[in-house]
């Protein structure tokens, strides 16, 4: 390892030699279904030949996997991280160290067996091609991965001697850690429910394929056919619910086992989690522009929320899961962690927000109810049974409730350092955006907004989704917020009416 740390041009390194075993093993695991299918389908006809051909295929795959180790080299110089791959089609990829925005370390079960970790180095640029943004070292030893991570994220290390070591880890402060009581939120996340349904479907399919009758285990079907239909349906519903609850809990445990969020010396936030596959995501604090507290409809029922980082270089709104700072947790905890991450107490996300004018409620009511009424009227005229139209009309109360909720969720505030805005129908998002991170304003007004004196003010930023909006705010209030949030930016273009004469602030001063 001394070669990596030596000044000047360090030597090219190979990946960890255990990859000679890991790569074929993982590929074999991936191929198992194919092998099984080939062998099973071919039962009774030329078994020997089939097994032989499968064996050849497996050997070829394993050989190419091993070849990858021999042809892959990487090095970390004071300015760049470089990766060379390929035997016939050689490629050298290179990332400038001052462009590096993230260093993620993950280890799946097979990698962990050999104490290896995959290091993914990201530049966070919105490049078209994935390869231009990321560089993956698959895999190096876990200890080496940690050293690489610390070196690459240390802004003082560029060009300097190696200063990484145990001191960095010991100087970390813990901002949040998993509490097992949060497991109650597991069934309340849509993504886990979707995953559970997918898994259940796959398992059902598998059982069907194998030939067993899923319902007829232990003569259950015989008893069910004698019972009335609703008992069968209820039993099935309970079964699905139990699978969903158990499955979502398992997924939560796998994903969030040992979750900690720490602030490391040198200004890095680090999230570690995972039971079988361990994941470590590091986020430089100087890229942080704020946080968002996200409450999905199901989570809101249980008074839960997640906290997501608003940072540059994560790639898109809510960072495709990479910006997640906190799993589903009690809302108060989400706000506390937001405050801790931003080093603000109390958290700006928990600020009392200013309500938006009642006209905004009218807009939401119209927007929610008119489509229902129109659809219902159209169905009256259409050649369908009249109960269909009535059923659609029955959605009207739901639409009204959604509109009321969307209105109640509207709000905004300015704290000393943050612009806070909240909106959402169903999914409620409360964003606290650094006022210093605002790099422009967009004020928009539709025809209907113009008639009611409302505007939507969007603060543009380099982080997250690129823009965070204060929706349907009174024109004067919205402009005043924008003016105050970033002094001098919008000011020259805003007219202040004083005694019937309009001035910009600059011209009155």
């Amino acid at each position: 390892m001394t070669a990596v740390m030596a000044p000047g041009e360090p030597d090219w390194q190979r990946l960890n030699p255990w990859m000679l075993a890991v790569t074929p093993l993982r590929q074999l695991a991936g191929l198992l279904p194919v092998i099984a299918v080939v062998v099973v389908i071919g039962i009774g006809q030329d078994v020997g030949g089939r097994i032989y051909s499968v064996l050849v295929g497996v050997l070829v795959v394993m050989f190419t996997g091993m070849l990858r180790w021999f042809t892959t080299r990487y090095r970390i110089t004071s300015e760049r991280v470089e990766l060379r791959t390929g035997l016939v089609f050689r490629s050298t990829r290179s990332v400038a160290r001052d462009r590096i925005r993230s260093v993620d370390v993950t280890a799946g079960p097979i990698h962990r067996l050999f104490q290896l970790s995959v290091v993914k180095i990201g530049t966070g640029e919105r490049a078209e091609r994935r390869e231009a943004r990321e560089l993956t070292l698959d895999a190096i030893s876990a200890a080496e991965a940690d050293r690489v991570r610390q070196r690459l994220l240390d802004p003082l290390d560029v060009g300097g001697p190696d200063r990484s070591g145990a001191t960095v880890a010991s100087a970390a402060t813990e901002l949040a850690a998993l509490s097992w009581s949060w497991l109650r939120f597991a069934p309340l996340t849509v993504s886990s429910l979707v995953a559970v349904v997918a898994v259940a479907g796959a398992v059902g399919q598998l059982i069907n394929d194998v030939g067993a009758n899923a319902v007829d285990v232990g003569g259950v079907r015989e008893k069910l056919t004698m019972a009335p239909l609703w008992v069968g349906i209820a039993a099935f519903a309970v079964l699905v619910l139990m699978i969903a609850l158990g499955g979502s809990a398992l997924i939560f445990i796998e994903a969030w086992w040992g979750f900690t969020l720490v602030r490391e010396l040198g200004g890095t936030l680090r999230i570690r989690r995972g039971l079988f596959t361990t994941r470590s995501v590091s986020l430089e604090e100087r890229r942080l522009r704020g946080v968002e507290v996200v409450e999905s409809p199901l989570l809101r029922v249980g008074r839960g929320a997640r906290t997501v980082a608003v940072a540059t270089g994560l790639g898109g709104r809510r960072g495709h899961g990479r910006g997640t700072l906190l799993p589903p947790a009690p809302r108060s905890e989400a706000h506390r962690v937001s405050g801790a991450v931003l080093a603000e107490d109390p958290s700006p996300t928990a600020t009392t927000l200013r309500r938006h004018p009642l006209v905004a409620l009218r807009r939401r009511l119209v927007r929610a109810t008119v489509p229902v009424l129109v659809a219902s009227a159209a169905l009256w005229l259409a050649p369908v049974p009249s109960w269909v139209a009535w059923a659609v009309l029955g959605l009207l109360p739901v639409a009204v409730l959604v509109a009321l909720d969307a209105y109640r969720n509207l709000g905004h505030a300015l704290t000393s350092r943050y612009l806070v805005t909240r909106h959402g129908a169903g999914v409620r998002g409360t964003v606290a955006l650094q006022r210093a991170g605002v790099i422009g304003w967009t004020v928009s007004q539709s025809l209907l907004q113009r008639r009611t004196g409302l505007i939507t003010v969007t603060a543009t930023t380099a982080a997250g989704s690129g823009g965070y909006s204060v929706i349907d705010v009174e024109t004067a209030e919205g402009l005043a917020v924008a003016e105050q949030a970033v002094p001098g930016l919008l000011e020259p273009f805003v007219l202040h009416e004083v005694d019937g004469v309009a001035h910009t602030l600059g011209s009155t001063a």
């Binding site: 967009t442 202040h496 309009a502």
Partner: protein
């Protein structure tokens, strides 16, 4: 802030030729809808009782769009640069005002489609580090656009940092 606030329009209008450009575009859009309808009327006699009134309605709406939209746009589309910022307004039925500080500008692009070339126009796009922050100045006179791009490029090159 007790006094009512409003945004003032940016100082400069876009080129008057932009009206012709937008009209041509609108005419093409309306034609794209009308031509299939007319072909339908000619080819499908059974449908005429309802297709003809429908086509007439589309034609009236299309004509209104063709007459109103370009002029309305011309009244709304404006731009301005100060030492510190670029300020634009755009739209017609729904309108947007955008501000980007000079210090945050990352790229300045010019784009001239075939129609714009025909009318001596250009569109200048000013991007910042924000995914939602691009300012489009559509329908500028070509010479004005060139001047503007030159000035913006000079200013932004003088600004240090990666503008995030």
């Amino acid at each position: 802030m007790s006094e009512p606030l409003r945004l003032r329009p940016p100082r400069h209008r876009v080129s008057r030729r932009a009206i012709i450009w937008w009209s041509t575009q609108a005419a093409a859009e309306v034609a794209a809808v009308l031509v299939p309808l007319v072909i339908g009327i000619l080819a499908w006699a059974d449908a005429r009782p309802w297709l003809i009134p429908g086509t007439v309605a589309v034609a009236i709406i299309g004509l209104g769009y063709l007459l109103v939209m370009p002029r309305w746009r011309f009244r709304v589309h404006r731009w301005e640069t100060t030492d510190d910022a670029v300020y634009t307004s755009a739209g017609w039925i729904s309108q947007q005002w955008r501000v980007a500080p000079m210090s945050r500008i990352q790229t300045v692009d010019t784009e001239r489609g075939p129609l714009q070339q025909l009318f001596g126009l250009a569109t200048v796009t000013v991007t910042t580090a924000s995914a939602a922050g691009a300012l489009r100045l559509a329908g500028l006179d070509r010479a004005v656009a060139n001047d503007l791009v030159e000035r913006l490029t000079e200013t932004t090159q003088a600004t240090p940092g990666d503008a995030t």
